[in-house]
Amino acid sequence: MSATIIQTSNLSHIFSKGVKTLDNINLQVPQGSIYGFLGPNGAGKTTTLRLILGLLKVQSGNIQIFGEDFAPNRISILKRIGSLIEQPSLYGHLTAKENLEVYRRLYGASPSRIQEVLQLVDLHNTGSKKAKQFSLGMKQRLSIAVALLHHPPLLILDEPTNGLDPNGIIEMRELVKRLNREAGVTVLVSSHILAEVEKMATHVGIIHKGSLLFQGSLQDLQSAKNKSGGLQIKTANNSAAAQLLQSFKPQQQNGSLILPFQTDEAIAHINKLLVQSGVDVYLLQPQSADLEQSFLQITAQ
């Protein structure tokens, strides 16, 4: 079991209006993972990330990063984190290089690092162009470059693909995966789009209305979702079929039978049973609700 890079314990937060924005969040981001922090808008993703970065004062609960308590070690921890919170934060009147220069010294990165990160995000040809003239995708990439200046072992990205075109989304995803694979960077990335997270994350946390509804590896999520799916069967004689399959606890639903989740072997066995008993099978379909559906299911509860 690898070490945990970020661990929050019973993190709760209430904004002044008395609405509980976060309720007992126990986030566990394993080292070397790409942790997709998933939830609809307003679920509490940004609040959680702001708490982790010390932009919000912790009201109750505890945050440990790199195994250290956050508050007393704030500066030494922040030195090892690259972050991008909400929209890009760049100085519009400065060039790409100057924007990086503002932060380079603060993080103690070497001057040559500026060219390196500019190349990495493909912005080395922007010259004297000011950041305010950049497209949103370029701004987002420059923000990533700022976050990468000091070779941080941990990256925290809040909705990094927001507002990007499909091409930009793919580029961002590839960049995150490459950093994770080649430099071993642990990435905590939030998103409200499940398909996005599915394509890049190794671990997933699903937050909804301030509560963490699911947390685990992508495989865990997949099997959880499989278990929530079922087997749909339509036959010429549903009541006869129901009789035959009594041991599987079938349910009648809109002219078809729904059985709980079955393995492939069991499905083959069910089919054989029906055919051999003379029941014509019209449809035999595993309802493997894809992640999108299970996400909707989870968040609809």
């Binding site: 970065l53 984190i81 972050s83 919170i85 760049l90 010294r105 603060l106 103690g108």
Partner: protein, 258 residues
């Protein structure tokens, strides 16, 4: 991480910003007008300036500046420097960088004051240039025959700088509080006008009004240009310490940053 690195980072952010150009324009306006008056109106202006030409020149310069332009410049520059972060939505990135709140607060404060000092220095240099231009353009001026009064110039600069410390510290605090640029500038302008009215009525507690301090210093240096501080200048130093600390703790104890 040292304070000087934080300061370098802050200074870099002011590149090409309005705050930088405002400091230059604020310093250049009066010397430019004076030069035009001297060049095109030598006959009327030159008589009476033969003796102590530089002293008269500089006093007139500060007279034009102190009452309104200087406090207005201070109000604007204090608002513009924090506005760089508000406008670009960069506070969060600043607070998520490995710096202490003290470093962030004081490096920005120092940046504001370096801008003010730049403005003062530039004003003095351009006023000297404006005297030289007058002398070169017309033989009626006697600037070159008069020694440049370095000592009283320094006293003038130092005391007018002290006189804006109260305003600068309060405005800096207000400007860190309000995201909207109009709020600190509006409050500052209202306080300035109220203080000028109080000054006009010779209110007995005028020394305690930071926004009247530049006027009071002007009044005082018309009488004597020495380094001895007037009562209100001590008040200004006191206000500076008070408001600077208040602003700092206000930022330090803020629950939500960036």
């Amino acid at each position: 991480m040292s304070f000087s690195i934080a300061l370098q980072s802050e200074l870099l952010k002011t590149r090409r910003t309005a705050s930088f150009w405002l400091s230059i324009a604020g310093a250049a306006l009066i010397p430019l007008i004076f030069s035009l008056v001297y060049v095109f109106n030598a006959k009327e202006v030159a008589p009476g300036m033969e003796i102590r030409a530089w002293e008269q020149h500089f006093l007139r310069g500060w007279q034009s500046l102190s009452a309104f332009l200087l406090p207005m410049y201070i109000i604007l520059i204090c608002a513009l420097i924090p506005q760089i972060e508000f406008k670009n939505n960069t506070w969060k990135q600043v607070f998520a960088s490995p710096q202490s709140t003290a470093q962030i607060y004081f490096s920005k404060l120092l940046t504001v004051h370096l801008m003010i000092l730049l403005c003062y220095l530039l004003f003095t240099l351009l006023m000297l240039a404006s005297g030289a231009i007058a002398d070169l353009s017309s033989s009626k001026f006697r600037f070159f025959e008069n020694p440049i009064p370095w000592k009283s110039m320094l006293a003038l600069n130092l005391r007018t700088y002290l006189s804006v410390l109260g305003i600068a510290s309060l405005q800096y605090w207000l400007s860190l509080r309000f995201k909207n640029f109009v709020a600190p500038v509006g409050i500052g302008l209202a306080l300035l006008i109220a203080s000028l009215i109080a000054f006009g009525f010779k209110w007995k507690y005028i020394d305690a009004l930071p926004y009247a301090h530049p006027m009071l210093t002007l009044e005082s240096i018309m009488k004597r240009q020495t380094f001895t501080l007037a009562t209100h200048e001590w008040w200004a130093i006191g206000f500076f310490v008070l408001f600077t600390l208040a602003g700092f703790f206000d930022l330090l104890w803020r629950k939500e940053k960036g």
